[in-house]
Every structure is written in C-alpha cells, then in structure tokens.
C-alpha cells in the first residue's frame, strides 16, 4: 500500500505554511509554479459543482470534451448541500489552492467571493451586446462593483403550484392574493383528501429567506432601498410578515417551521395540501410517473398582499466563476468552457435534461423547450419579474439575521415588530 507521497521535509514546511496561511488569504496569491503548457498538449481544467445537478452537468462536460481537443474538463462533484459547497470552495480559495479552476457558485455568494478577491474578472470576455442576450436579473447577480465577476449558468424562480382538480371541483379560479387563498380554506378541507391550504418552507435555513423576501416584495416592500440602505421595519413589511405568520399558524401543517423543500414537497405530493410555494423544477417532480398528484397540478405566480401590485419571486440558480489564483493558460481554457455552457444549444440542452430554467432569453421561445415545460410561457414573466436577494459581500450575515429573527417571529418567540427592528439594526451595523 502506498501510504506516503510526501517528497518534502515536514517541519520547515509547517513553519512556512504558518506564514503562508496568513498571507495567502490576501487574494493576490502567487502562481504555484505552473509551467506554460506545450501548445499541442491539451490544457486540463477542473470544474467543481454539486450533486444537485450532477448527472446533467456530467453529460455536458462529456460532450464538451468530445467536441474539441484543446481543453479537457475534469469534474469534482460535491454533495448537494449549499453550506458544504460554500465551505469547500472557501477552504480551497482562502489557501490559494489551484486544484479547482471553474466553480458553480450559488448566486448569493458571488459578492462575497468577489470582495475577497477570489474571482477572475470576466468583463472583457463578455461584451455588453452579449450580456444583453441574457436575463437582466441573472446578469445582475454576476456583477459586483460594476465588474462581471461570474457568468450565469441557470436560474431558478419560485411559483405557486396548486391542485387544479380541487379548484375545478369548487369551480373557482386560482386566487391572486394571499387573502383569496385563505378564504378557500373552509371549502377545500377534505376535498380530494386535502387537509391544509398551504405548505411552504419556513425552517431556519436559506429557504426561509427566499420565502420571506417574497412576502415582502409582494406587499410592495423592500429590504434595501435604491442606495443600499436597509428599510426593513416598515409598515408594509410588518404587514407582509403578519400574513406569513397567519399562514404558518392557521393555514399550514403544524411542522411548517421545520420544513425545507423535501418535507414541504412530501406533504403536497401526498395530496394533503392545496398549494405549495416551490422552485420551478418541482413541476417535473409532481408530474412524475407514480406521483399521487400527477396531472392534477396547476402553476401560477405567487399571490400578492394588500399593498402589493405585482407578483415577484425570489431568483436562485448557479453562476460560473473562475478561480483567480490559476494561471492564464487555465483561465483561457476556463473561459472557453464557460462560453460553451452559456451558448444557446447547451442552454437548451441543459433545460431539456435537467429542467433548470435557462438564462439565455431566446431559449424560452424554443418550441422543444416549451413542449417540455408547458408552463414556461407564463413562467418567463415570473422570471423577468424575479427579485434577487440583497447583493452584499456580507450577505451571509444579512441572511443569518433574517433567518433567526423571522423564524423566531414565526415560532412566536418574539413579536414581528421586534424581529424587523433587529434585522434593521443588524444590517445598519454591517453598512457602517
């Protein structure tokens, strides 16, 4: 058994790494002796992404490798857990590691990674005309300090999935306001086994932030104003949070404050809920062979509150970023690969095999795509109206404050006003 690969002597290295650890975090790490490759030899780059889209991504990589001879892409797959993926990237990038070249990064972390100096500036490789072909909301998530530091790969938006069969039986159209859905409660109980009016994600997690931000936006509220200042504890937002609390207490399963996506989906898939707020990909899951609610599901945009005029959904998705510590030859290869993943044919293919909403506008008009996702005609508007979560290098702290305070308010450990005041002052402290 080959146990040791160490070529170097230990002790000096440890001393050296002690020094290195403090300096390497600065961002402008030096190249670790990567030699310029021979022109004929293909350049090998590594692409790291999570198992969430593992299979489809691997298919695209294989096709890329087969389609040309200049570059080879190898994959490093991580578990589908946003925290695990984030931490793995941080450990590597903070130590100036060059073992990973391209990463699929959750949109909310782009600002954080860019401000740490870990991401390659892509502005010069994608001109304005090119950027205009993509959904503006997704380009926005890839931009930090007016530089394009990432490129969108696919996006995600939420929608309201409801039981078509139940509404048809009652002879009502899907309501457009939260109040409208609540009013149905007395009639839907027991119809086709429905027990709960609503189910959504209110566990202490990022999913809660996505949900809450929607109540706020759909009641005409905001988290940050146009200048980036927090406007959390407003009348609109208090009302929005009150609606959410009302749903939790009176219109959802008792355990909804412990639900992330899987638990909430289980209740809906078991036929127990009238509607679920979920990501667009849930469509294919609900209509899978063997699903209890197959062909009984309708999709509509999220409801609005009394002060809301327009429905907005939270934007999610993954952006492609390039490790700033790698050498130019690898960067060149990485950019070619990103251009491939964002090209029209690959965007379309990714949608067809993975049911992930593309970022290239033209794909939404494609006949095949529309056939596979019959709800995309309406969904395009939902995505165009989507709201990014607050962009900030300190997003993790903003999110943490929202999660803790809103969850405590929904569990009725603190009142709503206190929760929003605390979030307000937390964000104010960060902006100082």
């Amino acid at each position: 058994m080959k146990l040791f690969k160490a070529k170097k002597i230990w002790m000096p290295l440890i001393a050296a790494s002690l020094v290195l650890s403090l300096t390497a975090c600065g961002g402008n790490s030096t190249q670790s002796g990567a030699e310029a490759p021979d022109t004929d030899e293909p350049v090998t780059i590594t692409f790291s992404f999570d198992q969430g889209i593992g299979q489809p991504a691997q298919t695209l990589i294989d096709e890329y490798n087969a389609s040309q001879e200049k570059y080879i892409v190898e994959s490093k797959i991580l578990p589908q857990d946003a925290n695990v993926v984030h931490d793995d990237f941080v450990n590597k990038l903070a130590s100036g590691d060059t073992s990973v070249d391209v990463m699929a990064l959750d949109v909310v972390y782009v600002a954080e990674f860019a401000s740490a100096g870990w991401l390659t500036d892509l502005t010069q490789y994608f001109d304005q005309a090119t950027q205009d072909l993509y959904l503006p909301g997704t380009i926005e998530t890839a931009t930090y300090n007016e530089k394009l530091v990432a490129f969108p790969w696919f996006t995600n938006a939420s929608a309201l999935f409801y039981r078509k069969d139940v509404l048809e039986q009652l002879g009502v159209e899907p309501p457009t306001t939260y109040q409208g859905w609540m009013d149905l409660q007395s009639q839907v109980q027991g119809v086709n086994d429905v027990q709960y009016t609503s189910v959504f994600q209110a566990a202490l997690s990022e999913a809660l932030v996505c949900n809450w931000v929607e109540y706020v936006a759909n009641n005409g509220g905001e988290i940050l104003d146009a200048n980036g200042n927090p406007v959390v504890n407003t009348e609109n937002n208090i009302e929005a949070t009150q609606i959410m609390l009302d749903l939790v207490k009176n219109y959802a399963p008792e355990g909804v404050t412990t639900y992330n996506e899987p638990e909430s989906e289980q209740v809906f898939l078991d036929g127990k809920a009238l509607f679920i707020r979920d990501w667009s990909g849930f469509w294919s899951q609900a209509n899978k062979e063997g699903s209890k609610v197959k062909d009984k599901v309708g999709v509509t945009s999220l409801p609005v509150g009394p002060k809301g005029t327009e429905s907005h959904s939270t934007l999610g998705g993954l952006n492609l970023v390039i490790n700033n510590a790698i050498d130019d030859a690898h960067k060149e290869a990485a950019i070619d690969f990103i251009k491939y993943l964002s090209s029209e044919s690959v965007q379309k293919k990714m949608n067809l095999i993975a049911a992930q909403p593309p970022v290239l506008k033209s794909v939404y008009q494609d006949a095949e795509v529309l056939e596979a996702n019959p709800f995309y005609a309406d969904f395009y508007d939902i995505i165009m109206n989507g709201k990014a979560r607050p962009m900030s290098p300190q997003y993790a702290r903003v999110s943490d404050s929202i999660q803790r305070n809103i969850h405590a308010a929904l569990a009725e450990n603190i009142d709503i006003k206190t929760a929003l005041d605390t979030i307000q002052s937390d964000i104010e402290a960060l902006n100082k």
């Binding site: 975090c25 740490a116 566990a203 355990g255 404050t257 412990t258 638990e263 993790a396 569990a411």
Partner: protein, 294 residues
Amino acid sequence: MKSLQRRETRDAWLMMLPALVVLLVIAVYPILRTFWLSLHEMVLTDPGSGYPFVGLKNYTDIFRDARAGASILFTFKFTIATVVLELIVGFAAALIMNKTFKGRGLVRAAILIPWAIPTTVSALMWKFIYNDQYGLFNDVLYRLGLIDGYKAWLATEGGTFMALVIADVWKTAPFMALLILAGLQMIPGDLYESAKIDGANSFQAFVKITLPMVRSTVLVALLFRTIDAFRVFDLVSVMTGGANGSESVSLYAYAHLMKFLNFGYGSAVSVLIFLFVFGISLIYMKSIGKDLAS
C-alpha cells in the same frame, strides 16, 4: 539507583516519542494558528483591512455578545443532560452485558449499531423520525396512547431540546456502555468470590467492589463524552440548524468562521470552547489524576 531512575525516564520518553511526534506535527499547527488568528481582525471579505493585530479585542467582544452567551448556556444544558443520561443508560447496559444470558453476543453487537451509523445519516434519520406528518416517533407514541395527535416536535423549544437529547443519547450511549463493560471485564472474578465468602450481598459487592474498580474507567469515558458533547455540531446542524434556541457554541463558531468568513472572531469563539473544555477537564483530572498518573 539514580542512573536506574534516569534510564526509566529516558525509556518513558522514548516510548511516548512516536505519539508525541504525530501530535506535534499534525495537531499543534492548527491550534497555534487558531490562537494566533483570534488576536487579529480578519474578515476574508475585507482583504483591504490588512488583517491587523487587535490583541484581545475579539475576546472582549464575546462578553458583550448575547448570542454567544445564549449558545454557551444551551451547550451546557445539552452537555449535562446528555452525559448524565448516557451514563445511566450506558452503565445499565454494561452491567446487563456483563451478565451471562442467552443471546448475549448478539446484544453486544446490536448495541453498537447506533454508534456505527455515520452521524450525517443518523441525524437525517432522526429528523425524519420526528417529522410531524410521517414520523416514527409520533406513530409509536400515538399507538402507545401517550399523545392524542401527531406533534411537530422540532417546532418548539422544549420539544427541540428533548429531541436532540434523545437522538444524542441513542447515538452515544453505546460508546459509554462498551467502555464501562471493558472496565467491568478488568475486575478479577475472585474478588467477588471472596466477598461472597465474607457474606456480602450483591448490592454490597457492587458498592464495595464494582464501583471503586470501574471508577476511573467511568470517569475517563465521561470525560471524553463531555468533551464531545460540549463540541456538538453535526447533530444540531442537520436536525435544527440552531432553531428554537438550540444553537450550540460550535455552531456559533462555525457561523463566524465559515459563513461570515470572520476568522478572527470565529477563532476567538473556538478558543473559548477550548478554554471551557479545558476547565471541565481539569475538574475531571482532579478525581482521575491520582489514579492515572501515580
């Protein structure tokens, strides 16, 4: 005589050398680094700050941090509850397994099962078990007539605490049981025989022979359980994410280190955990010390 003593000392250090080398090479650097970083202002998203040395500022900040206080309090409650229950359950299990009865071998293998399931899987499993719609926990209690309807155990503060403690005891009582059993096995059988001849009943034998003989083993097992319980992370992270007042101090350190990328403050919280555990260990050391290092 003197040279004999010197040789014994030399032999002792030689025999400890391999272990000490490994510990020095691998463990010392991460620990020193954590101490060192805790004296700096170091937020990775702000490389412009130059990560200045700030002395003990991170530590004085902790004292004003109500959330740190709450997480330490929770961690103490959790540690005490789980370690006490694990001691009771583990000791009882060890005494049972030390008896001869049919199927003893299988029982021994069976009780190790919880310890053998990866924590990441068992924590998910328990989350599933406590689910308010299809969870096993509700089903069992309902069938036993202890509750009149399914409950969302992880939705309340009391329920969350209980749920975490049960899951942890389930997972780690086997650890305690196996170690105490090993201690019981070390007691020479003729001690009991001579006690019997002296007319002692089994309770007296337990108090006079068993307890003193396994005392140090139990204390060492308790010490390691306490250290681990105080650093609890995976279980809480998977089952609750820190909801309903269940944020352990390790989870809080994690939030600063890996979520906020605040290496300075996060390291200070880590050092604080170290200091607490060190203090606890000193207390244990007082009672085990003379047994171990005589």
